[in-house]
Point group: C2
Chain length 392, copies 2
């Protein structure tokens, strides 16, 4: 998060150019760093779990929101198939950015499932290769592992709420669509990036055509996307499958499909856009904020009841910032106090509330808040600068 | 990276629905994971450096491309201001995705610089606050730290090439524009996300108006972006500053500016789009690949000479995949062999080359390659599956 402090401008310091350019580009640096210390940058926990159902060890990657360990909130969980290290890094990074740096998504736990035998686990049915070997057919067992070992483990270990999403890419996006249709587990939302829907003579098309019901298999939303330069028939198959779903429920707001013209297989933009589409009711509008604290509370209470989502730290900041900048300092202070009751250790909320107290000429309250925050071990250097200024 | 294996389809296994749904959602999970093991998911190294120039310790976050430690290549480096953990996670994740999962960018080293006293370091000039305290004015010293301590440290510690980028957000994007104009260090490219260009009575505008030369200060490209709902006058100031730059060099292809209508401060999409714009010459076109291996080699040789960029693992895979799928298996094999000479430990290249050998009916060569890769300690389970199949 970035805060801009607006100040009056009285003085201008003359600029000096010191001509470091040649030194920086030359072979002999002017000064060398002494005794650098190093440690790993950790973004989460890598678990190794023994699965009885699959009869093997599985690596599971988990990232929790920054505030997870210092509050009592439960979070939605995104289960990411093909959750190898690079995809887990980028996907969890996008989510961290959209939910903690911006307020576009609720904060969520991300669970990446690394592969051992990808084709066995992802393909719902087995086919026989020309050489007689069998290929695929383990998706049922893999989903059983997720349902009866992984989800219970995640929900015992982390503060995971009831809203669960399933996301996959290519063959694992076929698994997502297969689970969407079969509802073996029943997720709250589904994301499928370039699903290989033609597997096994268009199995998933046949599942719809053969189903007894003439309705969609679930109320959960499904978002599919592909690249205009995708592999094989993937983009066309997505389009046809989307059409088939909409024949069951014309104009359904719960099915979304998009092709990214200039992109190839599994366009990464689709992941971001798909999450934003699934969470399009999440953001509180400027109009709603302008109606005041009751309207904003009602917005989030409704999301809590329907989805189990919490108000995020960024959402507390966003509304308070707008109220404060429009002179509604009482609303801002009340709202940030509510936020601090939920996230008592958030440096951002402490900082925001202290700024509001200063504007409200409650410098003592600001000072107490800043001193408390510093005493509780927060390292944010802005806090001590602000305390110094308030105490001056 | 995702590979789809296309196989003939002979058999269809009847599906069973096991009704796990209630168990997964119930309170008593069927099975509990025994003895889970855990370790951190590390995406890079956190360095603590003692800066003599700044007279303090600074935390520096570094992520290197996956292949960095097992090849001899030098990489471009992105220096990320405001490089706190969340922004570093998301920014380095987007870069990892675009360069290692996709082939949209060259692989690069990302260096995040965490803040201690942000306003001191980022604001080029000092102003006096109403309470008499001084605010800002440390950007020259901060740039001296980057030039004479940080860059030498990075280039001694990692295989960093000569292409250096500077990226900042909000106040630190002002620092980026200030360095672009003053050329104290001289980066190869600049990215400025929602720069606060109005600082100190529009200092950076005055720097251009007062400069002796009537040309742009450097040949390096500058990309600026802001949100349509950005803070204060940021979007308008960006537009005006872009116009001022283009008065010096009408139609310059080295200056880019974009406003994201529905976004707010520091739109994250701009970071991705800005990098893609800076690197728009990077990707080899399908037309170029179709011309053959000489045209592709020439494309990358030209980028190596002008920018110092290497051919990435993904670029080796991408062209080889296209040739192999069009029956040009000799080109694919030759190209992947060249790739393996550069990245001898890449499991992806070993896997791709083995697939080509199998298509070319060189099963023994494929077997040797796979056995070598496994013996060298690669853990990719696809390798042993493939070896088993080849040896059958």
């Amino acid at each position: 998060m970035v805060i801009i402090l607006t100040v009056s401008i009285n003085t201008l310091i003359v600029l000096h150019s010191h001509g470091w350019k040649n030194q920086a580009r030359g072979d002999t640096p002017m000064r060398s760093i002494q005794e650098p210390k190093q440690s790993p940058i950790a973004i989460g926990t890598r678990w190794t779990l023994k699965s009885s159902i699959l009869g093997e060890e599985r690596q599971i990657l988990v990232r929790v929101p920054t505030g997870h360990d210092t509050c009592e909130q439960a979070y939605p969980v995104l289960y990411l198939l093909d959750g190898e290290d690079t995809l887990f890094h980028s996907a969890s990074g996008v989510i961290a950015h959209l939910s903690e740096w911006e307020d576009h998504l609720p904060e969520m736990i991300v669970v990446g499932i690394r592969n051992t035998d990808r084709t066995r686990d992802m393909l719902p049915t087995a086919v026989t290769l020309p050489n007689g070997r069998r290929h695929g057919g383990g998706a049922d067992a893999f989903l059983e592992f997720i349902a009866n070992e992984l989800i219970p483990f995640v929900e015992e270990t982390y503060r995971a709420g009831p809203y669960r999403m399933l996301c996959g890419t290519s063959a694992s996006a076929l698994t997502v669509v297969y689970e969407y249709l079969s509802q073996m587990i029943g997720f709250s939302a589904y994301l499928a990036s370039s699903p290989t829907l033609d597997w096994d003579e268009r199995l998933v098309f046949r599942m719809i055509e053969n189903q007894a019901s003439s309705e969609l298999s679930t109320d959960a939303p499904l978002v599919m996307f592909a690249g205009g330069h995708d592999q094989g028939s993937i983009a066309d198959d997505c389009k046809a499958f989307n059409k088939l779903l909409l024949e069951l429920e014309p104009g359904s707001p719960r099915v979304s499909y998009r092709v990214y013209d200039v992109e190839g297989h599994c366009p990464f933009e689709g992941f971001r856009d798909g999450l934003l589409w699934l969470m399009k009711d999440w953001r509180v509008s400027e109009e709603c904020i302008d109606q005041g604290i009751d309207a904003v509370s009602e917005h989030f209470e409704s999301l809590r009841l329907t989805h189990g989502f919490n108000i995020s730290i960024r959402s507390y900041e966003e509304a308070a910032h707008r109220w404060a900048s429009r002179g509604r300092i009482d609303d801002a202070i009340l709202w940030l106090k509510q936020g601090r009751a939920i996230y008592p250790k958030s440096a951002d909320l402490a900082f925001g509330l202290a700024l509001c107290f200063i504007r409200d000429k409650q410098e003592d309250a600001a000072g107490i808040l800043l001193a408390d925050a510093i005493a509780s071990g927060l390292e944010d250097p802005r806090l001590s600068q602000l305390l110094e200024r308030v105490s001056a």
